[in-house]
């Protein structure tokens, strides 16, 4: 697996959220999931994408600690750095 940069990961996750139906203009690091209409089913899909593309596993208990878009991006970036 090639190492992705922080920007690439952020872009890919933003793109995924957009494909789930969120408005790109509303997606920011501080955005809470509810505010961009992302629910638990979307988060499971996001976890699948992240695992398949970056080999990072986001478990249900991890996701509970990620209230915002930024917290999820940081979680993935931190684990791809290692």
């Amino acid at each position: 697996m090639t190492t992705a940069t922080k920007d690439q990961i952020e872009e890919r996750m933003t793109e995924a959220l957009e494909s789930f139906g969120a408005d790109r203009d509303d997606i920011s690091r501080d955005a809470k999931w509810e505010s961009i209409d992302v629910d638990s089913l979307d988060l499971v899909e996001l976890a699948q994408i992240v695992e398949e593309e970056y080999g990072v596993r986001m478990k249900e208990e991890d996701m509970k600690q990620m209230p915002t878009v930024g917290s999820a991006i940081d979680f993935v970036v931190e684990r791809t750095d290692k």
Binding site: S19, F20, G21, D37, L41, V44, E45, Q48, E52
Partner: protein, 399 residues
């Protein structure tokens, strides 16, 4: 309590286009929506009507149901929500198979990439009750809500269930319909494997050369409410649903009872439910699938149930123009029948040329025909029969 039930909204997405009007206009003009042996809704782009989220959270059969239902609810004047307590509004939508496109796609993901690759949306998309649940959710309808599952009679059963609900006061209104999106590799192979679909790719119900049905997809939806309530709120009544009869052949998994007994009993029950005799029916919207067995046994059933009246009536099959929409067929055909009665027209059975000795009634081969009114509202029956021996017949009346 038995209230007279009015139809105040109609919606359809079919191979003849998006909208109930394009369905009846096209069929009456003798247009066919069948191309390359399939009745696809080619012009249907879900994202034109639904948000990105709605689109990806719905299998195609649910997308079709959403668009047909919205048309029906808009026409009923419910665009901003139901005019009665939402807890008293039902939503019953039938399907033959449900989200088979999703099943196939997810099964491929499972085989190619393992269990982890199966989408969390797989179950909510594929479940056969998804159309009813999603339509109820979209419009905030909080009364009885479920899908009916009876193969090609599912749409008619959904309408019958909704009729009873409104007649008996279990609901103040009900949206009913059927939806199907079964033009997928597995479903096509499976229907072909059992010899049900046409090898020639031509849908010609009741013609001697018929060799099976042509698969179609689409959805139909109707809004039912008590006549009194509809008139009180000034809604336009498009027609009435006056009777319903449903029976089982209890004969064979797929073949209809050759004497047409089960279907005939459904027709008789529906007429009795509407309080009508055979002479008070002006038009038959046939199930007419273009399979050798159905069209012969349906002809028998019509003769059994209607007696001499069967040979005086115009009988036509919408499947000649759009193919067989399986679980959506009953709802799309009821929608078309309401419009036939409203316009006073019996559209043709397209492609009918050669008489079969087992199919010797009047199938309106020459083109659309005016229906004689006889100084009273026009009335019709719409037949639906399904694999498994399910028979459901609806009586409809012009407003």
């Amino acid at each position: 309590m038995s209230r007279r039930v009015a139809i105040t909204g109609l919606g359809a997405v079919t191979p003849l286009g998006v909208g109930a009007e394009s369905l009846i206009d096209g069929w009456s003009a003798g247009e066919s929506g069948i191309e390359d042996g399939l009745g696809r809704c080619r012009g249907f782009d879900p994202e034109e009507f639904l948000t990105r989220k709605e689109t990806r959270r719905a299998d195609r059969f649910t997308q079709l149901a959403l668009v047909a239902s919205r048309e029906a609810l808009d026409q009923a004047g419910w665009a901003d929500g139901p005019p009665v307590d939402p807890g008293r509004v039902g939503c019953i939508i039938g399907t033959g198979i449900g989200g088979i496109g999703t099943i196939e796609e997810q099964h491929e993901a499972l085989r190619e990439r393992g269990a982890e690759a199966v989408s969390p949306l797989a179950v909510p998309l594929l479940m056969a009750n998804a159309a009813s649940g999603v339509v109820a959710m979209r419009h905030g309808l909080k009364g009885q809500c479920y899908g009916t599952v009876s193969a090609c009679a599912a749409g008619a059963h959904a309408i019958g269930a909704g009729l009873r609900m409104v007649q008996h006061g279990d609901a103040e209104a009900c949206i009913v319909g059927g939806a199907e999106a079964g033009i997928t590799p597995l479903a096509q192979a499976a229907f072909k494997g059992m010899g049900a679909t046409s090898a020639s790719g031509v849908s010609r119900p009741f013609d001697a050369r018929r060799d099976g049905f042509v698969m179609g997809e689409g959805a139909g939806a109707l809004v039912l409410e008590p006549e009194e309530a509809a008139k009180e709120r000034g809604a336009e009544v498009l027609g009435y649903l006056t009777g319903y009869g449903a029976t089982a052949d209890a004969h064979h998994l797929t073949a209809p009872e050759p004497s047409g007994d089960g279907a005939a009993r459904a027709i008789e029950t529906a007429l009795a439910d509407a309080g009508l005799g055979p002479d008070e029916i002006d038009y038959v919207n046939a199930h007419g699938t273009s399979t050798p067995l159905n069209d012969a046994s349906e002809t028998e059933a019509l003769k059994r149930a209607l007696g001499p009246r069967a040979s005086e009536l115009p009988i036509s099959s919408l499947k000649s123009a759009i193919g067989h929409l399986l679980g959506a067929a009953g709802a799309v055909e009821a929608t078309a029948t309401v419009l036939c009665l409203q316009r006073g027209v019996a559209p043709p059975t397209l492609g009918w040329e050669e008489r079969d000795e087992d199919c010797d009634l009047d199938y309106v081969a020459e083109g659309a025909r005016r229906l004689e009114t006889n100084g009273r509202p026009l009335r019709a029956i719409s037949n639906s029969f399904g694999f498994g021996g399910h028979n459901a017949v609806l009586c409809l009346e012009a407003a």
